[in-house]
Symmetry: C2
Subunit: 401 residues, 2 copies
């Protein structure tokens, strides 16, 4: 007998038919002799509807009351799923975050899980029940309802799997696994059988929207075996775990992230502390800087470029331009017509030719590289936005086809 | 400083505009220096929508999961109201049933309140906050969510008022008080300034749908001063309390209840135990018998008539007809073309002419009385349904105009 945690996202429980489908998946798993804990998100657009209703009353509601409102979304979907499972004749019980023992910090709308008191969960599992838990929510030390923020339901599922020492945590979503590239962009993208936590983390950070970083980090920390799969197809998904067979793959995937923009500072003085000055300023305004490249220009001058999220581009340009003279920089040039294209794979650590192969692919179709950034298991390049889809395809072809 | 509990029903919080209106009423009460606890129902048709969604998945869902589903309705409206009150700049906090300390029995969908642990409520009131509480819900000893059944939010409000020893419990609804008759039927119906608990109980039972019996019973038991008023008009409502000034009113109101039907058993033998046999049978099938009249017929035979809710008429007729011979009765005649018209008022106890005045009014316009039933403070008559509106009007005229 295995203990399996299954998490279903908003699209998987969006309506009556989908809920019946989820009930079938869950009861099939139970029928095979497993213990099952199900974690659900709010149905489809519920969260958006709640946020709209709230905005009509108060454009800046307190995060405490927002949590009270949002958390009712999972409460609705868990009760409905329980009814669908009852209909199939299986013992089942639904538990809210507080009933399931989720204790969190008090940072409303973005609370961290402190611990899970698993006594109720274990009691219900030992009574042979399928246990449904509301994802995304818990209570703090004041008994106030909290929510976990983006990717919260995935995190709830992984946290339960860790706390109960589950054999597997299945994340059901609207794609059926992790692909070597976004199948909407790359025709020949292939589903990966498995991927390591570190690779998944890089992919998540670089724009693959399959799993949220936070849940992968937690899975890595507590060594929870994950599987990403679809509730709408009946195929096996992608396993995410600590150790993966290396196969023959040098890299696991190619990603594209359009939410980036480049700030270039021309003719900056070549003196110590200058970079610190610039990036302390960005930090002060809460602007998240990604790739930084410093070029060697004239003997006493150089250029510095860096990328920031698109929403922060104008602000970054404004605050730097205002301080042009005091800092002593020339022009501040900003553009958001760029994309970040990346490859990820633990294989590149032991294969020195990976970067060259990527650059060669881009060169072969005449795509210019603006910036380059590397880590142990990823290489990112900044290219013109208009070239980005072509870049992903030509790189994918070079490595996978 | 007074402590006031204000309860707002589903229509009062149905949409953004109504919620803003309720926020104004609540904050106006707070501004006058009062402590305020607000009890809310689910918005408008939320409960119906939830029930429909549930039915699509399972025509017979467990009452436990139904309670999980339904209780989220109040959680939504309390969070939205809190946001509307925040917008007006007042400190406010919303509490679910369990957060507000509502402990109930485990009879899901129709749970009785066992006690209210008021520590959190008092803490928040002492922090100068407006406290919003989800009506209709609590938790049982297993920490499972329960709901209180019909009229549940009124009951929640009265229970809080009793537990906190509040000075007043205001029930805001879609009518602005208790009238001498339904204003939709009687043009000259007058709003009562006050009414006693007993009179209100009789009116509620006899078809006035202003307050639910259960909440009035609780208010009487704990001597909670009630006021029924409208959230949509800015007028004072009707006070419901133990002692009322008698004024010059012989009676408080005239009501009509169309949900009734009459079963007549003709030529029944005049022997002991016969009535017991009939009504034990009704009880066995859970049929609620209201008025019973036994006529004196021929020397050894008599007729028995009684009323039952319309939905039970066919069943009652069927089970009696099937046993006609074994019990020894003649024909079983059923009709639902009857209405019960009643007058209620503690004044009739000391005024013997009240019944005569009612019958005279009916006689004066040629309305035939089918059955009569009386209690200390009410007189009910059964008339043909086609005459019922006329009956209410002519009686109202006799007593009030």
């Amino acid at each position: 007998m295995s203990l399996i945690v299954q998490k279903f996202g908003g699209t998987s429980v969006a309506n009556t038919e989908r809920l019946k489908n989820v009930a079938r998946i869950v009861t099939d798993t139970k029928k095979k002799g497993n213990q099952v804990v199900v974690v659900v998100s709010a149905q489809g657009d519920t969260t958006d509807e709640f946020e709209m209703k709230a905005k009509e009353l108060n454009e800046n509601p307190s995060s405490r009351e927002m949590d009270v409102l949002l958390s009712s979304g999972e409460q609705i979907s868990m009760a409905l799923l329980a009814m669908a499972i009852e209909k199939l004749g299986f013992p089942v019980i639904s538990l809210t975050g507080w009933q399931a023992g989720f204790k969190t910090k008090s940072d409303h709308c973005n609370a961290r899980i402190k611990k899970i008191d698993t006594s109720r969960l274990e009691h219900e599992l030992n009574s042979n029940k399928i246990v449904i838990v509301a994802g995304f929510q818990g209570i703090d030390k004041y008994d106030d309802i909290t929510t976990l923020g983006r990717g919260g339901s995935d995190t709830s599922a992984v946290a339960i799997a860790a706390a109960l020492n589950a054999d597997l945590c299945q994340i059901y979503t609207d794609v059926d696994g992790v692909y070597t590239a976004d199948p909407r962009l790359v025709k020949n993208a292939v589903k990966l059988e498995e991927i390591s936590f570190d690779e998944m983390l890089e992919l998540a950070t670089l724009g693959a929207q399959v799993l949220h970083n936070r849940s992968v980090e937690m899975a890595k920390k507590y060594n929870v075996n994950l599987e990403v799969l679809s509730s709408l197809t009946n195929t096996s998904g992608t396993k995410v775990k600590e150790k993966v067979t290396m196969e023959k793959l040098l890299i696991r995937g190619v990603t594209k992230d359009d939410d980036t923009s480049r700030i270039a500072l021309l003719n900056v003085p070549d003196r110590p502390g200058f970079a610190y000055q610039i990036f302390a300023l960005m930090s002060k305004y809460n602007i998240n800087v990604d790739i930084i490249v410093q070029s060697i220009g004239r003997s006493d001058m150089k250029d510095i470029s860096f990328t920031v999220p698109m929403k922060d581009m104008e602000l970054a340009q404004k605050i730097l331009t205002e301080r042009k003279d005091s800092i002593g920089i020339g022009d501040v040039i900003a553009t958001d017509s760029v994309s970040k294209v990346s490859i990820v794979g633990a294989g590149m650590q032991t294969n020195p030719g990976v970067a060259a192969k990527m650059f060669e692919a881009l060169y072969s179709v005449g795509i210019n590289i603006n910036m380059i950034s590397t880590s142990e298991i990823k290489i990112s390049v900044l290219v013109d936005k208009k070239d980005s889809v072509r870049a992903v395809n030509v790189i994918h072809e070079a490595f996978f086809e």
